[in-house]
């Protein structure tokens, strides 16, 4: 089968055209933040279970030293992002969807930023086997920096035949510009990472996807590509329309194929990685520093000087805000991520994680029109703008009805599990119905119900198995009884019974 890729932009019928508001933060080069005085590194920084700490309070650590180990598939190693003293391993309020407390390793810096030696990497990755590269990447704690934090090494060892690596630089969500500046200023690193990832995945093709509204980044990638002279890598332009940068959406726009419902890109032979992830891989092989920092866009009208900062993992958000010139006025909201899928944070003392691509300090009235924010929720008037906007081909207006009726069968057939919670339906809804929140709640209920069903099924299977076993025993017993009553009891059998009775008697008398 011949694989072709759309290198020219294709306009999707779905999605929304929101103002990009990226120019504010792309004006300057990436600011490299000095190591902060203290970091709080969450143990929950992967798609899987939290890592298990391997250091204790009072222990001295250096920059890049492993401080927690992956426990299960989906989990990733965690490293000290500064050198200094571990002062606590305790519950902290960290960045998560539910504002939950998580265990974090708190390190007080000694100001030296001394690297952990020895560097695990000495070899040229191109002389390593794919398995060795994957192992090395796993040791660097590298996870998908697009936000999902799925361990990169695990994604690379999916075992499927990969036609192409899709390097996703389509940063479709408004405000966020960390991938754009990465491509603008560090395109060579991204491409180097692409080469390593291609080798690790065993593919000879790579498509770097950029957005149509980031011409400087595109030029930078083309220039780097010319220097590199690697004809396996191509650049594809994707229409700037939210959410064209979603993994499934970008794949569809570039390859024309859809990932099966409930499946992964690997199932149709593609591997998607964020451009930041590729740069992290290249950095690790070049410097030996594992994933201890990332680029964060700090923007919004609530900060004085929007900027992109390369910050150590675990740095408190307040310090990044200070680097962006501090607050301007009193912001109404502090959002981690973009305005569409981001999470409103309760406090700016929260440390950044590997998933934090953007911090928005939104001034009052900046995001929600003041009138719209106070607009009461009205009934759905079936205008079907949500249906036009949905990138998953769902009908939110019908899903809403099924949610209200708690009709699980309808929710299933209407594709609730395929909802990617991008928020497009909310954005266009003239009745101000919180659709995404409803769907996200319904999805949780849906999964719980499925789990319960499965549990009930197991219980029933266990019950039935036990019933069958008892039945069988009963039949056997009856059979034995019949045999016994039918047959003549021999002398030896009587002797054996008598001997056992005597033994039991002895045992009884010995006991007290």
């Amino acid at each position: 089968m011949l694989h072709t890729y759309n290198l020219q932009p294709r306009r999707p019928s779905w999605g929304i055209r929101a103002e990009a508001r990226k120019a504010e933060s792309t004006g300057h080069a990436i600011v490299i933040a000095p190591p902060p005085r203290e970091v709080a590194i969450s143990l929950n920084q992967s798609a899987g279970r939290p890592a298990v700490p391997i250091v204790e309070p009072g222990e001295k650590v250096s920059t890049g030293q492993p401080v927690a180990r992956a426990t299960a598939p989906g989990s990733a190693d965690i490293h000290a992002s500064i050198s200094g003293l571990v002062v606590a391993v305790e519950e902290r309020l960290v960045f998560s969807a539910h504002h939950s407390m998580e265990t974090a390793i708190v390190i007080r810096g000694d100001g030296t930023d001394e690297d952990f030696t020895p560097h695990p990497v000495a070899n040229d990755p191109m002389s390593m086997t794919p398995a060795e590269i994957r192992q090395t990447i796993a040791g660097a704690g590298i996870v998908g920096l697009g936000g999902a934090m799925f361990p990169t090494a695990e994604k690379l060892s999916c075992g499927a035949r990969i036609h192409a690596l899709i390097l996703n630089g389509v940063e479709c969500e408004p405000y966020i510009s960390c991938d754009e500046v990465l491509l603008r200023y560090r395109a060579a690193r991204v491409l180097r990472g692409a080469q390593i990832l291609m080798r690790a995945a065993g593919t000879q093709r790579c498509i770097v996807a950029v957005e149509t509204d980031m011409p400087e980044a595109r030029v930078a990638v083309h220039e780097a590509l010319e220097t590199l002279n690697d004809d396996r890598i191509d650049v594809s332009q994707v229409t700037a329309k939210y959410p064209s940068g979603g993994e499934r959406q970008v794949l569809e726009l570039i390859t024309g194929r859809q990932v099966p419902s409930g499946g992964l890109p690997q199932d149709i032979g593609y591997l998607c990685q964020n451009v930041g992830t590729a740069a992290a891989v290249a950095d690790f092989f070049a410097t030996g520093r594992p994933l201890i920092s990332r680029i964060v866009t700090v923007t919004g009208q609530g900060v004085s000087r929007p900027v992109n900062i390369e910050a150590r993992i675990g740095t408190p958000i307040a310090e990044l805000i200070a680097m962006a010139g501090g607050y301007r006025g009193t912001p109404a909201k502090l959002i981690a991520g973009g305005p569409m899928m981001g999470i409103a944070l309760p406090d700016d003392g929260i440390p950044i994680s590997k998933a934090n691509n953007c911090i928005i300090a939104a001034a009052p009235g900046e995001l929600m029109e003041t009138a719209a924010e106070h607009q009461p929720e009205l009934p759905c008037i079936r205008c079907s703008e949500c249906l036009q906007a949905c990138p998953a081909g769902l009908q939110p207006q019908e899903l809403l009805v099924a949610c209200r009726q708690q009709d699980r069968q309808a929710l299933e057939s209407l594709g609730l599990p395929d909802c990617l919670e991008c928020g497009c339906c909310d954005y266009v809804c003239p009745s101000a119905i919180p659709l995404t929140a409803r769907f996200s709640l319904a999805k949780i209920g849906f999964r719980q119900a499925q789990l319960e069903e499965r549990r009930a099924l197991h219980a029933r299977q266990r019950f039935e198995a036990r019933e069958a076993r008892l039945q069988q025993q009963a039949v056997q017993r009856e059979h034995e009884l019949q045999e016994q009553s039918a047959g003549v009891v021999s002398d030896s059998q009587i002797d054996a019974v008598m001997a056992r009775v005597a033994r039991d008697k002895n045992a009884d008398t010995e006991k007290p």
Partner: protein
């Protein structure tokens, strides 16, 4: 520093239902002025009476249903329904007829089905059909357009108001002397009397395409509709499909026998064609959801409108066509639902 933690998404477009309804009213304003220009103050009066009755009915219904009167009364949706109904009524309509239609439209067609967003039938059209069936005579008594060479002395504003409110006309004037059939009505009755289209069109009631005055009204309504398209309040699918359906049928008839079939232009620029295409059929609540569905829905209205005009017993078929297609919406929606990503390749 502490911040509020409302759930996302944190950004919304500024569109909202009251704004949409207001824009629809703005788009109707030029047409309203045009109607008044040609047919006198009665049209405006109908709009006022219908709006007042609609707001009152809505308030009572909301009260009975324990809903927020403040929120729903200010969403302008009842006013839109009332104005659309009023535009379908003859300029000289006694107030109680207008009120009856409006009360039915808002109280029965809208609120008995669950209020805003839940009604199956277009309230304005349901109200109009009730009046059409209950008061057939009053509903066909249109005025001729107020154009110089038509032999007709229009009522003064005061006289119009007096008739609408009290039902009494100035001495020496009868309703029959004042009112005429609409061009669509004339076309229908005269065709049934075996006259040819050309003979019928010789009457001063007819203009270049449709009825005199009516063509202008339809033009202005279409302009308002195009403004709504430009403002993205409506999508093109329903108007284009509806007009194409009507035009297609009319062209077919015209090609078969131009003597017994009115021209496609006549159908496009007569009666409620443009009002239906841009303002009535595009009511989101009662229309099909997907773009493909909207095309089927719109085309169905166009075809049925022609069928009723040409072969039915009513001069204009808009209201019946819309209500009939309202019934098919659940089926259209089911047959034209979008493909879910990754499920239906």
């Amino acid at each position: 520093m502490k911040f509020s933690t409302a759930t996302g998404p944190h950004w919304r477009a500024a569109d909202n239902v009251p704004a949409i309804m207001r824009q629809v009213l703005y788009a109707l304003t030029p047409a309203l002025l045009m109607y008044t220009w040609f047919f006198g103050i009665g049209v405006l009066l109908n709009c006022l009476i219908a709006s007042a009755a609609a707001l009152a009915t809505e308030a009572v219904a909301l009260k009975l249903r324990h809903r927020s009167i403040e929120v729903f009364l200010t969403d302008y949706s009842v006013v839109v329904a009332a104005v659309l109904l009023a535009l379908a009524l003859p300029p000289l309509t006694p107030w109680w007829i207008t009120v009856t239609g409006t009360v039915f439209a808002i109280g029965f067609a809208k609120h008995l089905y669950g209020g805003l967003g839940y009604n199956i039938f277009n309230p304005a059209m349901a109200g109009y059909v009730v009046l059409l069936i209950s008061f057939p005579e009053e509903m066909t008594r249109w005025l001729p357009p107020d154009i110089g060479d038509i032999d007709y002395q229009p009522l003064s504003w005061l006289q119009s108001i007096q008739y609408t409110l009290t039902g009494s006309l100035p001495d020496a004037l009868t309703l029959d002397a004042l009112t005429r059939a609409t061009p669509l009505d004339t076309m229908k009755t005269e065709l049934s009397r075996m006259l040819t289209v050309d003979e019928i069109r010789a009457s001063p009631l007819f203009g270049d395409f449709g009825g005199r005055g009516w063509e202008w009204i339809n033009n202005v309504i279409a302009l308002g509709g195009i403004w709504l398209l430009y403002k993205k309040v409506i999508r093109w699918h329903i108007p284009v499909a509806m007009l194409t359906g009507l035009l297609g049928m009319a062209t077919l008839g015209y090609l078969i026998d131009p003597a017994t079939h009115a021209s496609p232009g006549f159908h496009l620029f007569s009666g409620g064609t443009m009002l239906c295409a841009f303002f009535i059929a595009t009511d989101p609540v009662t229309a099909a959801a997907s773009n493909r569905g909207k095309i089927f829905y719109g085309a169905g209205i166009g075809i049925l409108t022609y069928a009723i005009r040409a072969w039915g017993s009513y001069p204009d078929g808009i209201a019946f066509a819309v209500l009939l297609m309202n019934m098919t919406v659940p089926m259209i929606d089911r047959m034209t639902k979008p493909a879910i990503y990754g499920r239906d390749p």
